[in-house]
């Protein structure tokens, strides 16, 4: 079995066969060439001068030189070409053949881009998905690595790893071509982000020497073997590229897949019911443009599959740009007018115009039915300020309690049915699961510690895009006395001053909290309109937070985790492509399923504890990834200090060169024959 050799950027499948042929034929050819020569007899007046000239010719050269002849040259050329063809050269800039190869096949969202033209401009009709190109190239590579030539089979082993945000081994090391091809065919697309680190770790784990003897309890050390060649089939848009580095001696071949770069994406969508219009829904969306030219698009909003609004004018998304060495995509916001929708609904915002990657042209959000909140105010005093504000809100039920009443009710399993509990300057001994707005006093939650106070502070940074600050600017806020707190990383600081956090939020599955680290009466906020808006935003935010998935939509790769009524059973998840998967539900109603692979609406059905009917929950999954939206293939990969140049799969698909070489060789033979005939005719 002769190993294929890598010479002159060509892969030679059977170099030995070509060398043997060349060596065994060339020398006899030169000898036979003289025998074959049919000299024409010609009578001349005298050979006297000729024989003397020949003697001169021989005398002048120490060795008899092979005289130049086009025929001989053509014959040698033909033999060399045929020998080269027999060695089966294959043009490709790949790593050495033979040995072990790990093929990492990217199946992230960007690999769903449809390719309509190759890099050289050749049209692909019908368009083909990038992943399909990658799979085809990988199969070709498998055949190259394992297929062998006419006279030998290659000594290679190949492993297949598919990866998106997670990596899976699709086939362990094997030299079985059909197994590997089946494994490649079975790779399905996902809408996940591209995370290469796990795939690299996985391949490293399987390519380190496995000490078989150890597995049997013996202690025989196996010698360190040859490191495998990692071959990556991807568009190079790897989210964790900056954290990756190759190990010493590790080699990677980057097969660059695809050429399309025309793509726009909806990266965020949110919906809201305006407080004063609870039967209506207002939808917000964010669009990105990863290209270097600005784009104009039409955006539509559909509720439960029916288009309800279209942007009256095209939305212009500015071009992406480099800022401080960082790539920043162009962004644009879209706000739709509120539409009547009292019931729960799935809302989809989509770009109408076609582009290479359709999967990220739409984003979904699920909103619950219109519901008026019930609010409880807990205070030991009059709480005039907050009570006045809360009473003005369009809530279904509003009540007040003292801290003692609240704790007594809590001890008895009450109060229940309140969507939001507001603590005005008081803190209970413990917080049960629920949604809370705490003002002043530090609530008893792990990770939130009071360590003093500050006086006379101004807010320095506020996350103004947070729902809490919608129409509630705190630019002119002055706080005369601030509770100094230290918060763990579970808390999100949405507003802070130079001395520390001013407003914090906590979003846990069972507990949602907004904490104001100051008493509004110790500030000038009550005199500003933004205070009323802030309280209304906080109640709205907290009141909806407990409801299923009104907050952040999932992204592919994450797991669905949902609390259903206790005793729920017969859980089933239907993915956007119509496939259904059974899932288990804990006795306390916790459902976990995943990771989700596809963007779109996931339908979760279950049978509640009481009754036989089926209930439905909707889960929106959006790609919502500006990095994945950037689908233009990366020319090279910088892995640590090493830069790996991409090889277009279009180039590697050109495959074997030997038929061309053989054809050229036969052409030379014809030319030689013609030349010989012409010479003999003279």
């Amino acid at each position: 079995m002769s190993a294929p050799t890598h010479i002159l950027a060509l892969t030679w499948v059977t170099p030995l066969a070509g060398a043997i042929l060349g060596a065994s034929i060339l020398a006899p050819l030169v000898a036979l060439w003289f025998l074959k020569l049919r000299r024409k007899r010609r009578v001349i007046s005298s050979t006297l001068l000729w024989s003397r000239s020949l003697a001169d010719l021989r005398a002048n050269t120490p060795f008899q030189r092979i005289r130049f002849s086009w025929l001989l040259l053509l014959q040698i050329l033909a033999i060399v070409l045929i020998a080269v063809a027999l060695a089966q050269p294959e043009a490709e800039g790949l790593g050495a053949s033979g040995g072990r190869h790990v093929l990492l096949i990217d199946r992230s969202a960007s690999m769903n881009a449809m390719e309509t033209a190759e890099e050289d401009g050749t049209t692909i009709d019908p368009p083909i998905a990038r992943l399909a190109l990658a799979k085809e190239a990988a199969k070709t590579r498998v055949r190259e690595l394992l297929g062998g030539g006419w006279f030998s089979k290659r000594a290679s082993e190949v492993m297949i790893v598919a990866f998106g945000s997670r990596a899976e081994i699709r086939s362990p090391f094997t030299d079985n071509i059909s197994t590997l091809e089946s494994a490649i065919d079975a790779i399905t697309p996902t809408d996940e982000a591209t995370v290469l680190s796990e795939a690299l770790e996985l391949s490293r784990a399987f390519t380190s020497n496995l000490n078989v003897a150890d597995a049997r309890g013996e202690k025989n050390e196996l010698p360190v073997g040859e490191l495998p060649t990692i071959e990556l089939y991807s568009d190079g848009r790897v989210s964790d590229l900056a954290t990756l580095a190759l190990r010493e001696g590790e080699g990677i071949v980057y097969h660059r897949v695809g050429a399309a770069d025309r793509n726009l994406a909806v990266v965020a969508v949110s919906a809201d019911r305006p407080p004063e219009q609870q039967n209506r829904i207002q939808v917000f969306a964010a669009l990105v443009n990863p290209r270097t030219e600005a784009a104009s698009v039409t955006v539509q909003m559909a509720i439960d599959g029916t288009v309800r609004a279209v942007t009256p004018e095209k939305i212009t998304i500015p071009a992406a740009a480099e800022r401080d060495g960082q790539w920043v995509p162009g962004r644009a916001q879209v706000v739709f007018r509120p539409v009547e929708q009292p019931n729960n609904a799935s809302i989809e915002v989509a770009i109408v115009e076609d582009d290479a990657l359709r999967d990220d042209d739409a984003a979904l959000v699920v909103v619950p039915p219109a519901k008026k909140l019930s609010v409880l105010l807990v205070s030991n005093g009059d709480a005039f300020l907050l009570r006045t504000v809360l009473e003005a809100l369009p809530v279904e039920r509003f009540a007040t309690m003292t801290l003692g009443e609240f704790e007594a009710a809590t001890a008895q399993g009450k109060p229940s049915g309140y969507d939001v509990v507001v603590f005005d300057g008081v803190a209970p001994a413990a917080l049960a699961p629920g949604s809370y707005l705490a003002v002043g006093a530090v609530p008893p939650i792990d990770g939130l510690t009071q360590f003093g106070s500050h006086e006379g502070v101004y807010p320095r940074i506020a996350r103004e895009e947070h729902p809490l600050f919608r129409a509630a600017s705190i630019d002119e806020l002055f706080v005369s006395k601030l509770v100094a707190v230290q918060a763990s990383k579970n808390f999100e600081v949405v507003a802070e001053c130079a001395e520390g956090p001013m407003i914090l939020t906590l979003d846990r599955s069972d507990l949602h909290l907004v904490y104001l680290a100051f008493d509004p009466l110790d500030s000038n906020w009550p005199f500003q309109r933004s205070f009323v808006n802030f309280v209304a935003n906080a109640v709205e935010h907290l009141g909806r937070a407990g409801e299923s998935l009104t907050g952040r939509a999932l992204t592919p790769g994450e797991a669905i985790s949902m609390r259903l009524p206790a005793g729920a059973r017969n859980g089933e998840v239907e993915t956007p492509d119509g496939r259904k998967f059974a899932c288990t539900i804990d006795p306390d109603g916790q459902l976990t399923w995943g990771p989700v692979q596809l963007a779109g609406l996931h339908r979760i059905r279950f049978t509640p504890a009481i009754g036989e009917g089926t209930e439905l929950r909707l889960v929106a999954v959006n790609i919502a990834n500006a990095d994945e939206a950037r689908i233009a293939p990366r020319a090279e990969l910088a892995l640590g200090t090493q830069t790996v140049q991409g090889i277009s799969v279009g180039d590697s698909r050109r495959g074997a060169l030997w038929p061309w070489v053989l054809a050229l060789g036969l052409l030379i033979v014809l030319l030689e024959w013609w030349s010989y005939q012409r010479q003999v005719r003279v």
Binding site: L37, R38, R39, K40, R41, R42, V43, I44, S45, S46, T47, L48, L49, W50, S51, R52, S53, L54, D56, L57, R67, F68, S69, Q679, V682
Partner: protein
Amino acid sequence: MSSAQPTLRKLDDLLDSRLMAKLDGIDVMSRKIFSGKLQGERRSRRRGQSVEFADFRPYVHGDDLRFVDWNIFGRLDRLFLKMFLEEEDLSLIIALDTSASMRSGSPDTFDYARRVAMALAYVGLVNQHRVSLVGFSQGRIERASNLRGRRKAADVAQWLLRQQPEGGSGFEEAMRLVGTARQGRGVMIVLSDFLFPEGFEKGLGMVAGRGFDLFALQVLAPQVVDPSREGGIHGDLVLVDAETGVETEVTVTPELIRLYRERLDRLCGAIRAYCTRRDIVHLVVESSTPVETLMLEYLRRRGLLR
């Protein structure tokens, strides 16, 4: 370089009437004065009866008293005999190489040599010289001797047309036979390619020292002078020597052609040097040269004709 069969069949083929008319006005010029056999139109070494005074010598018994210079006898009282140059005929010997090597090239070397021989013989005949033709090959000679007068031109032509090149030349032996023949001294013109395997020196030496006014006319085909010309030697060949049958395998290359031409130049140079040393006029002529040009220009310039 061998040519097709010759096309010379009659006198006109050898010498057309137009050239014949031009040749009527020229004569063979010898650089030496020879004794003739018959009274001719040429000065002879022999003192004779012409009007051209040569010398005086003392009278001896038996001299013709008509040639005594009586004026000198009156002044010196001694008898002196006036000597006059005798006008005698000239012996013109044309030696034609009839070996197989002469049949080559285009135009054919042998045909060309025969046409030159015919023209020279004609000049000799019309000037009342004694013309002898000698064909030599394989060491043998064939003669046509002592032809004189314009009427013998037909005989000369017939003799020439009868000659066919064959065999080796045997130049030395042939020249020995010519040199020792009682042919009378005179002008000898050797028409040959001088491509003799055994060399030309001994052959020419046989006649060079025997009182002939010798002209060596080396006739070569253009393809012999330059084998790269059309009809020359190309490609991979087995060259067969027309005289000896020796075969030589050659693959003609520019380098070989260059060496061949060097060899030819060296051979011609050697012949010329040899001839100069022995007072022989050597002239190389290509068979493509018009006979008229050769006769009226080249040979006149070299002193053979006037």
